[in-house]
Symmetry: C2
Subunit: 364 residues, 2 copies
């Protein structure tokens, strides 16, 4: 992986440094943060091995650059840093991806790959950073047809090295997903607090709220300065999901007004089943299954294969690209957790015209 | 308090029995549950001291009757049991109050007072009952101008004896409050799960949901069979709050579509402050302050005074009614936690035409 540059040493950047250096003591990480105190604290805590005096100095000579700055700063930073980044692979950790990925490819071509570690956002700053922030967390990567295989593999390896589970999704698929799972729930939690307050004079009675209200609205305590730029960067996906929620409220109102209690029951029961299944952990003892496919040596193949796996929720445990000496073709090997996921992926790849096959089966 | 009859020995009924008998060993409690196994388990666990073979047998000879059955059964039970209840004070524990309180006064006159312990509803059944379920929980009582002072005082004392903090609200105020703090958040959590699922083919990706989504949607796993009757009984308040949430979603969509980011920030910041303040516990060392007022000996005074305290969030620690021997008037003494709450209540009572005054002040 070589020399790492961390631009931004707050919660995420600082935790990347701490996690990497706890696993690979002495790994060279040069850090930079606009706030000198944050940089200094990162150095004192051992999250970086040295500090640069500017972002461009930090990326000079780096093999991998992680932009861990607020999402609204990313496009500008990508343009500013590109001339100094040499051949480095560059990634970011922003919570919305389509806009950033466009800016990244524009500035860096195939050496940019977007990323988003799914770690929650209630806390922030280097003080909150810790080395196990990414343990078992999903780390979504968003390769496109412009992403090079080596950029993808490098950042995927970095995420794994930090304890995270990388998974690939197309930028648009990522943005639609986080609108549903994170951005609109965030807005809804804040809306529920506002609605609860709406009677003004009754504010003191909010203290009567029970544990349910506490849970539903916990994320309403998040920092607006972080959230506004996220919503802004993901506005079209957020608007689509928000419209669905609004429509759902309207239809629920009709259901209740007309006394269609069976329909209300069906609605609650379906959500209940989905919610109960949601966090049932898959068995951790799933067999690794290797899938091999011959791929044309053209851009975009890797993105197509890995995002197909991502959309199935198939976890790629390992990935090898064997370039053919004959040129024009290569062999891609993926190790997938679990036979059902591997078989679903083989089928999905067949549907896309790939000749994929299981290359081994530990059960045999 | 005398002999207690518990109709329904599930989570709430069973916990009432366990809590009372853990504090007053040997207190006579006769129980009845439509499900003989639930009744038997309640007896075995010591939640009741004896079992009756029917609800009407259970209430015969009781001084206090607690109806802890599902909300949809309450109106029917009140009518059925009234002829057998003698002079007993009767209360219930349903999650919506206006309909039940109407039925209660219709069946029992001034001996009925509605109640609602605020303890959450994810679990149910006698197996989940425990003696500290009500510790520090709010127990809303809903006296009306038809409620007798002795019915109010008796059930208030019962709630305190179980470890809960009784507070009085008018039935409509209760119903509006729980629509905002509980019923609509419940519907919203289920709606967010449904909206997250809406892409069908992507279901496997829901596993990427982080802690925020987990919190927001936790109550979506609640039992629809409990919730549909609650929503049904509180439909008009629920509809009003649901319409506000729908409107909020629509206006948020406009804010985002038009790029009014400062407005979005203000919205998130206001909800954040409210949420952060919500569960800041008031200092537990507040001075008790006694308020005394001469009250006319007419129905409704107690409801007016206690619900005024409830609407201010003022916690009535103790309450004494001293009937004047001259007739026509009485003296009501309330002990309120904290000087600010006591002073606010005195002002509110003055505004209602009462001559209330602080009768002591431990600081002097």
């Amino acid at each position: 992986m070589g020399r790492l540059a961390l631009i931004g040493t707050g919660l995420i950047g600082g935790s990347i440094g701490l996690a990497l250096r706890s696993r690979a003591r002495g790994h060279p990480i040069v850090g930079y943060d606009r706030d000198p105190r944050a940089g200094q604290t990162a150095l004192e805590r051992g999250a970086v091995s040295e500090l640069a005096s500017s972002a461009s100095e930090a990326v000079g000579g780096a093999d991998v650059v992680v932009l861990a700055t607020p999402i609204e700063a990313l496009a500008g930073e990508l343009a500013t840093l590109a001339p100094w980044a040499g051949d480095a692979v560059v990634t970011d950790v922003g919570s919305a991806k389509a806009e950033v990925v466009d800016a990244g490819h524009g500035a860096l071509g195939d050496r940019f790959i977007g990323g988003h570690p799914m770690t929650g956002s209630e806390r922030h700053g280097i003080e909150a950073a810790h080395e196990d922030l990414f343990d078992d967390a999903w780390w979504i990567l968003t390769p496109t047809e412009l992403t090079s295989a080596s950029a993808y593999s490098t950042v995927r390896y970095l995420a794994q090295s930090l304890g995270a589970r990388p998974i690939a999704l197309a930028p648009d698929a990522h943005d639609a997903l986080v609108a549903r799972l994170s951005h609109v729930p965030q807005l809804a939690a804040s809306a529920l607090v506002e609605v609860a307050l709406a009677d003004g004079a009754d504010d003191s009675l909010l203290a009567l709220a029970g544990g349910g209200f506490r849970d539903v609205t916990r994320i309403a305590a998040s920092n607006p300065a972080l959230w506004v730029p996220i919503i802004r960067s993901n506005r079209s996906a957020v608007l689509a999901v928000l419209a669905r929620l609004e429509d759902r409220c309207a239809r629920l109102g009709e259901t209740i007004r007309q006394g269609r209690w069976h329909e209300l029951h069906e609605f609650l029961a379906a959500s209940r089943s989905a919610r109960l299944e949601l966090f049932v952990k898959p068995a951790q003892v799933e067999h690794p299954v290797t899938i091999a496919l011959v791929v044309p040596d053209r851009p975009g193949v890797l993105a197509e294969v890995t995002t197909a796996a991502g959309e199935l929720g198939a976890n790629i445990e390992d990935l090898r690209i064997i370039h053919s000496t004959e040129g024009g073709r290569g062999r891609l090997e993926l190790v997938i957790s679990g036979k059902p996921a591997a078989e679903a992926l083989v089928a999905a790849l067949h549907a896309r015209g790939y000749r994929a096959e299981r290359a081994d089966d530990v059960e045999q």
